[in-house]
């Protein structure tokens, strides 16, 4: 029974990582850049939902929609003003800009909402589920998180595989110049990618804060880094890779804590990452792409 409860904790934590990792991996796959500000967009999503529910008294679902709208707009604005001008610049410059944007968002949040932590009221207001005569308690947030993650991955696979914009994304990811010659607007496709990625960040932010209800300007940074690790673990650029990478990372973290040592949980997570990358440098599901000369 304890095992089952750990499994559910792991799946729930893993689902949050997976949703965040999807944002990293999509942007990397299409724009070929590491958007380190992604974790901070999550934080903004959390604050938006917090303001809507705690200050404005909106219903939970409306607060999620607000968070998604604001984060989507934020994602597009960041892309337009910070990354687009650097499209031709070396990737290192873009990386540093991304770190700059990350600090900018954190400090802006500090100015607006101050550093005092806020306690987030879960958007899932259902009682915990008691199974096996109360021996196993599953929190409703965990269930909602896991289900949301599955819905998102199915929807995303559909969008990328079956729709016109998805086709454009795949084409841009494959070869930017060739895609442009075929009449695809590369800039627009990248903007849409950022929009989708940021909307996912908003959902991740709300779920993260619902499960771990503490909200500070730095709330998004550590889960952001872990999710980035998950994306690399699964194979950066690969959508199923991010999903499995996130889930596995969450479960390894929880099981490592439970059965090996609470002190070593992060060491275990990162050792496994190193081993996987040694054996399979492209990550679990990453495709090996031979460099064109």
């Amino acid at each position: 029974m304890t095992f089952l409860s750990y499994l559910i904790s792991g799946l729930s934590l893993g689902s949050v990582y997976a949703i965040i990792a999807l944002g990293y991996t999509m942007v990397y796959g299409i724009a070929k850049m590491l958007n380190f500000a992604h974790g901070d967009v999550i934080m903004v999503g959390g604050y938006m939902s917090f303001i809507a529910t705690a200050h404005l008294g909106w219903p939970p679902l409306a607060s999620v929609l607000l968070a998604m709208v604001v984060c989507t707009a934020l994602g597009i604005v960041i892309e337009r003003f910070a990354y687009k001008p650097l499209r031709a610049a070396p990737s290192l410059a873009v990386l540093i800009t991304a770190i700059g944007v990350s600090y900018f968002l954190q400090n802006a949040a500090l100015l607006i909402w101050s550093s005092n932590p806020k306690s987030f009221t879960s958007i899932v207001r259902l009682p915990s589920l008691k199974l096996f005569d109360g021996e196993l308690t599953v929190s409703s947030v965990a269930i909602v998180t896991i289900i949301s993650c599955i819905i998102i991955i199915i929807a995303l696979t559909f969008v990328i595989g079956k729709t016109k914009i998805g086709k454009a994304m795949r084409a841009v990811s494959e070869d930017k110049e060739a895609a442009q010659l075929m009449g695809i607007s590369v800039n627009q496709t990248i903007s849409v990618t950022f929009a989708i990625g940021s909307a996912l960040a908003a959902i991740a932010g709300v779920l993260l804060c619902s499960a771990y209800p503490i909200l500070m300007p730095t709330t998004g940074s550590m889960p952001g880094i872990k999710a980035f690790t998950a994306a690399v673990f699964g194979g950066i650029g690969s959508i199923p890779g991010a999903f499995w990478g996130g889930l596995l990372l969450g479960m390894i973290e929880i099981f490592g804590k439970a059965y090996i040592s609470t002190e070593l949980s992060d060491a275990i997570v990162f050792s496994i990452l190193i081993i996987v990358l040694l054996v399979k440098p492209t990550g679990l599901m990453g495709k090996k792409i031979s460099e064109k000369v």
């Binding site: 934590l13 987030f120 804590k257």
Partner: protein, 386 residues
């Protein structure tokens, strides 16, 4: 392209400057040059509630002391974001400003770094709340106003045993934090002598401080009836929420880091109902000084002061009384003041009555002697346990 990048960079820099700026409280009454007291603590960042409280409490005390018309003081409080490196930078800024006495730092990890510098520079230091013995160890000019971590660990174990609060104890602590680890170690050794059975010990770090299901499940399976939390209130709020979601309701016992949990915005204080903690200060105390302080604090800062505010307040009074006793004037240099202050603090007839304790005295090692109070949260406020 470059101009835009430059603009963003400038903006980031400009913003960070905003956070580097500190605040200065000038003397309001009396005449003569004021003695310059430097203060260091987190005014921004995750531990900001402690630094802001100390700074606010100190400012109230400063105004009162200056209004007495005797020695005049000026306080310059700098932000360190609870970061050792930034704390040393803040210390250097204060030195350039001409600091003669240091009231800092607020938190332990920066405190260890800064007190080493203050020891080298011979600047008298009284920390309001950096509680590790490492802050004062081997430094004859560094004094503490708060209990040391070992004292908190020992006092907690004794308190739990004496009041029969629990027999099977689980501990969750932050093994990356000197404060948390220091209390934990003493608690463990003291628990053994007090017939307290520690059935589960689990840890976390800042990086893993979001999921506590594993730690709580272990404690529950081990049959713990009391969980000891020698940690700060942010992770503690998560532990309380997650224990509640699990349907697990042991007793919770915290230390001074738990203070602040009730003022966390939007926190459901029902979750903290029955949480116990050892703290030297109770805002609900009925003595005249506390009532007066709480009223002033509420008027100025719109919240009920926690023990850190009281620590900051007492710090200024302790400095004031020692300065008066040692005959210190504003024209003396820091090293002279330092020697006189050490003599005053360790003098056998020197004691300070403050909000956080009557008759506080100091040993040569820099530790304070005062009695802790047991508090329990009832209906969303601290109530004395006895």
């Amino acid at each position: 392209m470059h101009t835009r990048r430059f603009r963003i960079l400038t903006l980031v820099l400009a913003l960070s400057m905003v956070f580097l700026a500190g605040c200065t409280a000038k003397p309001t009454g009396g005449t003569g040059t004021p003695i310059k007291i430097g203060g260091i603590g987190p005014l921004t960042g995750g531990a900001a509630v402690y630094g802001s409280s100390v700074a606010n409490g100190a400012k109230i005390a400063l105004e009162e002391v200056n209004a007495l018309g005797g020695l005049q003081f000026e306080l310059n409080f700098q932000d360190d974001e609870h970061d050792a490196e930034k704390s040393v930078n803040a210390y250097n800024t204060l030195k350039d400003w001409g600091m003669q006495i240091l009231c800092g730092t607020v938190t332990t990890t920066p405190g260890i770094a800064v007190s080493t510098e203050a020891f080298k520079d011979r600047i008298f230091t009284l920390t309001p709340s950096a509680s590790s013995t490492k802050v004062i160890e081997g430094k004859d000019n560094v004094y503490q106003l708060c209990f040391t971590d070992p004292n908190q660990g020992i006092a907690s174990a004794q308190y739990i045993a004496d009041n029969k609060l629990g027999t099977k104890i689980a501990i969750i602590y932050n093994n990356a934090d000197a404060y948390s680890t220091g209390i934990y170690e003493k608690f463990i050794s003291e628990a053994a002598g007090n017939n307290l059975e520690v059935v589960s010990t689990t840890t976390f770090t800042e990086d893993t401080a979001n999921d506590f299901n594993v730690q709580l499940t272990e404690a529950k399976n081990a049959g713990a009836d009391l969980i000891f939390l020698p940690i700060y209130y942010q992770p503690a709020s998560l532990i309380l929420t997650q224990a509640d979601a699990m349907g697990y309701a042991p007793k919770f016992f915290g230390v001074d880091g738990m203070d602040g949990i009730l003022t966390m915005e939007n926190f459901n204080t029902e979750l903290a109902e029955g949480v116990m903690l050892l703290t030297p200060f109770a805002a609900d105390a009925k003595d005249e000084r506390t009532v007066d302080f709480v009223a002033k604090y509420q008027e100025a800062y719109k919240e009920i002061p926690n023990q850190f505010a009281a620590d900051g307040y007492d710090c200024i009074y302790a400095i004031y009384e020692a300065c008066t006793k040692a005959g210190i004037t504003a024209d003396m240099d820091a090293a002279t003041i330092c020697d006189k202050m050490i003599a005053a603090f360790t003098a056998s007839d020197f004691s300070v009555d403050g909000l956080t304790g009557e008759n506080m005295t100091w040993s040569k090692t820099g530790e304070v002697a005062k009695a802790p109070k047991g508090m329990v949260i009832e209906n969303g406020v601290y109530v004395g346990m006895n």
